[in-house]
Amino acid sequence: MKKLIIALSFLSTYHLAAQKLPNAEIINLQGQIINAASIKSKGGPMIISFWATWCKPCINELDAFHDYFIDLEDTGLKVVAISIDDSRTMSKVAPFVAGQAWDYEIFLDPNSNFRRAMGVNNVPHTFLLDENGSIVWQANKYIPGEEEELARKVIALSKGEKINND
């Protein structure tokens, strides 16, 4: 136990300067395993949205935001949608996304490794990150109209304005 305390105390004083997403295995739609920490923005804001094929509000959110996403290209925005579908429904994700004609980057997190590391309890849970990878806003819900709000925040963020988490 003593050793553990020493180890933990040491770790608590050790910092990494750059903000990074946590290490967690996720799978792309081709079935390849990648580390979530390797997800990088395109130099602008990034949205990470946790969703599932059985979650209606999640689909409504990604769908509603898609109309705005096309117009936000100038901001350098990248949208990453992390499906938490487990082994029951994970095979549905690729054909489902195709049928929705979404242009997002999609990854699977079937055993919720990334979900737990990001502190996500329920879906939908959406994070807005700045170009340095710091979380500036998050919401554990989708209510209609939020997509508009989110699009405004993305534009503000790309102009270097401060975002409030309200």
């Binding site: 136990m1 553990l4 305390i5 933990l8 105390s9 770790l11 608590s12 050790y14 910092h15 990494l16 903000q19 946590p22 290490n23 739609l29 081709q30 079935g31 390849q32 395993i33 059985w54 979650c55 209606k56 109309d67 487990d86 082994s87 029951r88 429904t89 994970m90 095979s91 549905k92 690729a94 054909p95 489902f96 996304v97 195709a98 049928g99 929705q100 004609a101 079937p110 055993n111 919720s112 490794n113 737990r116 590391a117 990001m118 502190g119 309890n121 329920n122 849970h125 710091s134 979380i135 806003w137 998050q138 919401a139 554990n140 819900k141 209510i143 209609p144 109209g145 939020e146 988490n165």
Partner: protein, 555 residues
């Protein structure tokens, strides 16, 4: 004392210096004040003595570079109606430390893991159901180069606030072939192969049966991805494993699962088949309900989210089933005549599940304790239909202000098996005694944008059933007052219930407040008795009436 000390050290050590992104917490708390409802529960058998029941948990996860540690505290005072009653009291149920360095990834303490799709090993949690079979032990993952990855696990599984006595150990090798065979990538092929072996140890004390102390299972899998096509196959075999689930028969178990999908922007197709024969695999041979499952057998049907269709859920029949699924998602392109400005989405899904062939043994017995149980021809179907589902939907956004979706469901639901829990061996001896309910359901959903950022979402649902729960109609209105408040009112009227006294209303009113990652929900409602499922696993929920509060936040 030790776990509390551990928690204290973690919070102090990490809380002082950790950056926001390094330490994350999830906190959830639910409580319900139950009201006596003489219509729903005339004798009061489901009315809890406590009147007020509440439960909650807090999960802390600390990640710093290649190190991660986590802890979860759970509290049940007492567990809410419908959850497994084994959850009593409070304590630390999950704690681990994990390090990933070079080619090694080592976890000690609790962990969740799965091999392939989980046919022989999956430890996971489903908090909505109170299901958690986390391993407590050691997991080692190492990369061997050339795309080879080896996983080894050993430990015991969580059972409420204790652990099962059985030891679970397993090994899994996955080969992502593209690293070693780069020419595949050049041809646009991505392929992987995998194999796993899992064994459990539980001492036998049975005075009559010679039960195996060790039970092994192995599985092989493959994935092939080429030009929008993805084909995955998995096959599993388990040696004799007499258990409560299979009536203590000695027949080995088998499972096969094959899924082919095609995805291209605007079109997605899925076809899937599976066959399961005697594949219940638990670390306690006498385990029941959700306790101590080592594996997970994914059901091949679409989980429904609309309330009335969700009243007829399907869960895998672990003792044997053969089934398949076909699904098409298509978007009529934006800008076309039928697609309009925003496109029109069509979806068609069908699924079926049936019993497997279980012919009697040479001595004419079937399912008898201590025997091989039965003989099964894999190319033959059994006589019992468990479930079938054909559903289709069309959704269209007419303008910035109006979105509409229409869905139709046609279900066949074997109430005797899926709701009453009668096994196929019993039914085979009494063919025709099962009751299959035919359900036709319609859902019309609309979403209107009002002024000042307000929206109104409505659902009209209608389900016609030729028995069991009978006909029902439902209306729902959800009013988004602003980005912080939502009010939802719904009512299900079971006007066609075969018993006149049960032709009642089930109203639910909820007021939800959002603030960033925090959600507070207040509700009043009447809950129907039934089977509640998340992710294909189901539990029985008693009828209830009461006021509820739920708070969830991430920090």
């Amino acid at each position: 004392m030790k776990p509390i000390f551990f928690l204290f050290v973690m919070v102090v050590a990490f809380g002082v210096n950790a950056q926001q992104e390094k330490l994350r917490a999830i906190i959830q708390s639910d409580a319900q004040w139950y009201l006596r409802d003489k219509v729903l529960d005339p004798s009061g058998e489901y009315f809890p003595d406590e009147r007020l029941l509440g439960q909650g948990f807090a999960l802390f996860t600390y990640t710093d570079g290649d190190f991660q540690a986590g802890i979860r505290y759970e509290n049940y005072q007492n567990v809410m109606l419908g959850f497994p009653t084994g959850y009593q009291g409070e304590g630390i149920t999950y704690r681990y430390a994990r390090i990933r360095r070079d080619n090694w990834d080592i976890t000690v303490g609790n962990f969740y893991e799965q091999f392939g799709s989980g046919l022989i090993f999956r430890s996971y949690e489903e908090r909505g159901l109170g299901l958690d079979n986390a391993m407590d032990g050691v997991r080692i993952i190492t990369k061997l180069g050339q795309g080879l990855k080896l996983k080894g696990v050993i430990g015991r599984q969580r059972k409420y606030f204790s652990k099962g006595e059985g030891i679970v150990r397993g090994i899994d090798l996955n080969w992502s072939t593209n690293e070693a065979l780069p020419f595949l990538g050049k041809k646009g092929i991505i392929a992987s192969l995998g194999g796993s072996f899992v064994s459990k140890f539980q001492r036998n004390f049975d005075p009559i049966l010679n039960l195996p102390n060790n039970v092994g299972a192995f599985a092989l899998r493959s994935t092939l991805n080429f030009k929008g096509f993805n084909w995955t196959n998995e096959w599993a075999h388990k040696i004799n494993d007499p258990s409560y689930d299979n009536g203590y028969i000695y027949k080995p178990g088998q499972a096969i699962l094959s899924t082919l999908t095609f995805s291209k922007k605007g079109l997605g197709i899925l076809a899937s088949i599976k066959r399961i024969d005697n594949m219940s695999f638990r670390s306690d041979r006498n385990g029941q309900q959700f306790d101590l499952f080592i594996n997970f057998l994914p059901p091949t049907s679409k989980p429904h989210t609309y309330a009335l269709a969700a009243l007829y859920p399907y869960a895998t029949q672990i003792n044997g089933e053969v089934g398949g699924q076909f699904e098409v998602n298509y978007m009529i392109p934006r800008g076309s005549f039928l697609g309009g400005k925003y496109g029109t989405r069509l979806s068609l899904n069908s699924a079926i599940s049936n019993s497997i062939d279980k012919s009697p043994l040479d001595d004419d017995s079937r399912g008898l304790k201590g025997t091989q149980g039965y003989v099964s021809d894999i190319f033959k179907l059994g006589p019992i239909l468990y479930f079938s589902d054909i559903n289709g939907s069309i959704s269209h956004k007419f303008s910035k202000k109006l979105k509409s979706k229409f869905t139709y469901f046609s279900l066949k639901y074997n109430k005797t098996v899926l709701n009453d829990g009668v096994g196929d061996i019993t039914l085979l001896e009494n063919l025709g005694m099962d009751s299959i309910i035919n359900i036709n359901a319609f859902v019309w959903e609309n979403q209107f944008k009002l002024m000042n950022g307000q929206t109104l979402r409505s659902e009209i649902q209608w389900a016609l059933a030729d028995g069991f729960r009978g006909d029902m109609a439902m209306g729902l209105v959800e009013w988004t007052i602003n980005q912080k408040w939502t009010l939802a009112v719904q009512d299900i009227y079971n006007y066609g219930h075969p018993t006149t006294s049960r032709q009642i209303h089930y109203p639910i009113v909820s007021l939800i407040h959002f603030n960033g990652p925090t959600r507070v929900q207040l509700g009043y409602g009447r809950q129907q008795q039934g089977v509640f499922c998340v992710g294909g696993v189901c539990r029985v929920v008693p009828p209830s009436n009461g006021l509820s509060v739920s708070i969830t936040t991430s920090l």
